[in-house]
């Protein structure tokens, strides 16, 4: 970031401009914290301007549910439909052109709705694509895959093939193994049940080798990675109708239940830091939602076909 170290003679306008730039950059891994410190030290007014910017931005977090509702409303309103369609088209195009042009062969896109799908590849590899997920396969040797949602991979190791699977911010390489990948936006989990693979991401200083029994979680908000142990037999168990967790953030569990059990559970901000350990049977979704609430000592309230999780005894 090329930011002038502002001085006390800078106009307020410039200071605010720079503060906004620093704030936007602070969400990224390549944030120049030393430069930011130097800028703050240059003038106490800088920190005040930064606070104002960050507080204004933080207000969006507080009101996100209301703002999202407005967006939903705009989505169905005829006047905005074209805009949203254009956006969707842009998103599809972006996916298509984001693959290195040289490597793109014919691209096949698998998209699932409420039911998952089994994909068998020519080399004997197999992929179970979770419900509400998408996998695109391209490259002359089917060696480029991009995932959103969830999938369990059983990949035949072929040293001659440089298979790369991207899921949000991470890339998986050196794959000869069985593993599960779950991606929601920029949050990704990879759990290895057999063999090993290498995961790389902008947020990681260097690629990480993951062996069987290891899971990597990249937190979308902080772009940080965590490696935790995982029982190999629980990897990909959504295919058998249940899900196990060890200290998983509640929001993550709710996201999984939406995908695998088709049940929407809203988690208020105040409960987002709660974690869950245990196994849930997916069943019809309602059961899983009630089990989750009960195990956490929380209450469920019906809300427009879904549920809202809330503190018990209110």
């Amino acid at each position: 970031m090329n930011t002038d170290p502002g001085t006390s003679t800078s106009s307020m306008r410039d200071i605010v401009e720079t503060a906004a730039q620093w704030h936007v950059a602070s969400a990224c891994d390549d944030m120049d914290w030393d430069g930011f410190t130097a800028w703050l030290e240059a003038d106490p007014a800088h920190a005040r301007a930064y606070d104002e910017i960050a507080l204004a931005d933080g207000l969006i977090d507080e009101h996100r549910p209301a703002l999202l509702e407005t967006e939903e409303a705009a989505f169905v309103a005829p006047s905005r439909t074209r805009v949203r369609l254009a956006l969707a088209v842009a998103a599809v195009l972006a996916v298509a052109i984001s693959l290195p042009a040289l490597l793109v062969g014919k691209e096949t896109v698998y998209r699932t709705e409420a039911a998952g799908r089994h994909i068998a590849l020519e080399d004997g590899s197999a992929i179970d694509l979770a419900p509400h997920s998408q996998l695109s396969i391209s490259g002359r040797r089917h060696d480029r895959m991009a995932l959103s949602g969830g999938a369990y991979f059983a990949i035949q190791h072929d040293p001659a093939r440089q298979l790369l699977i991207t899921a949000g911010p991470i890339g998986l390489r050196d794959i000869g193994t069985r593993f599960d990948v779950q991606r929601d936006g920029t949050s990704v989990r990879v759990a290895v049940s057999e063999g090993r693979l290498t995961a790389s991401s902008d947020g990681l200083d260097e690629p990480i080798a993951l062996d069987a029994g290891k899971a990597l979680r990249i937190d979308g908000e902080t772009a940080l990675g965590f490696v935790t142990p995982v029982r190999p037999e629980t990897v990909g168990e959504w295919r058998a109708g249940h899900l196990s967790y060890q200290n998983a953030p509640l929001a993550l569990v709710a996201g999984d239940l939406a995908r695998y059990a088709g049940v929407q559970i809203a988690v208020p901000v105040s409960l987002r830091s709660r974690t869950f350990s245990g196994t849930l049977a997916l069943g019809d979704g309602r059961t899983a939602a009630h089990d989750l609430a009960q195990l956490l000592g929380l209450a469920l309230r019906d809300d427009r076909g879904g549920f809202v999780m809330e503190p018990a005894g209110r």
Partner: protein, 211 residues
């Protein structure tokens, strides 16, 4: 400086913290304008880090700065909320349901709900009035919570283009909030006696000694 490569297991974070303590403190002093507040926040950081069981394996140094920055922001938010309550603006932080009844001297729940709606309406108004690019980038990144690189892909522009749009959006938001008197009037560093810790994501009562 003998530990160049903090290992990624449970003690990694604590080591990282020791390794970077000096520069993080320097940042905190610059960020909150007072060495005393900086030391309190550093203590809060230490408590949080000691309680963390798995170490980050990503950019640990950036992680520490991010924690530090969030702690300062939490404190600023707490001050802002207190001020808003007193002046009829409302905070919720997702926990206002519990807190309302305990504040009979403050605005009534109905007032609070109304003020909260006003706040949301103001945000919507400002966002709707943003320049097209800034509005789209802001909606995608902050409301739909796409990462900045995903926003760049969706909009078909560069990452720095996204950053510029977002910075424009932030400036507009700040301007609008400023114009309607949303910010706490006390903003100068040496008057900030109420600075305190608290942890990200959880609204905790402040347990700092009185200044």
């Amino acid at each position: 400086m003998e530990m160049r490569e903090p290992d990624p297991d449970r003690s990694g974070l604590a080591r990282l913290f020791e390794l970077h303590r000096g520069e993080v403190r320097r940042f905190l002093v610059a960020r909150c304008g007072s060495p005393e507040d900086a030391d309190d926040l550093l203590q809060d950081m230490w408590v949080r880090i000691a309680a963390t069981t798995v170490g980050p394996i990503g950019n640990g140094r950036a992680y520490l700065f991010r924690i530090a920055n969030n702690l300062v922001l939490d404190a600023a938010r707490a001050r802002q909320r207190a001020m808003r309550r007193d002046r009829g603006w409302v905070e919720a932080d997702g926990e206002f349901d519990d807190a309302i009844d305990e504040r009979p001297d403050r605005a009534t729940p109905a007032d609070e709900a109304l003020a909260r709606k006003q706040e949301a309406a103001l945000l919507e108004h400002v966002i709707a009035g943003l320049p097209a690019g800034a509005q789209r980038a802001l909606r995608l990144h902050r409301i739909e919570e796409l990462s900045q690189s995903d926003v760049a892909q969706v909009m078909g522009i560069s990452r720095s283009g996204v950053e510029k749009h977002l910075a424009v959006a932030m400036k507009h938001l700040r301007r609008a909030l400023h114009d309607c008197g949303w910010y706490a009037p006390v903003a100068s560093g040496d008057e900030e006696t109420g600075t305190a810790g608290g942890s990200t994501g959880k609204a905790q009562p402040m347990n700092r000694k009185p200044a």
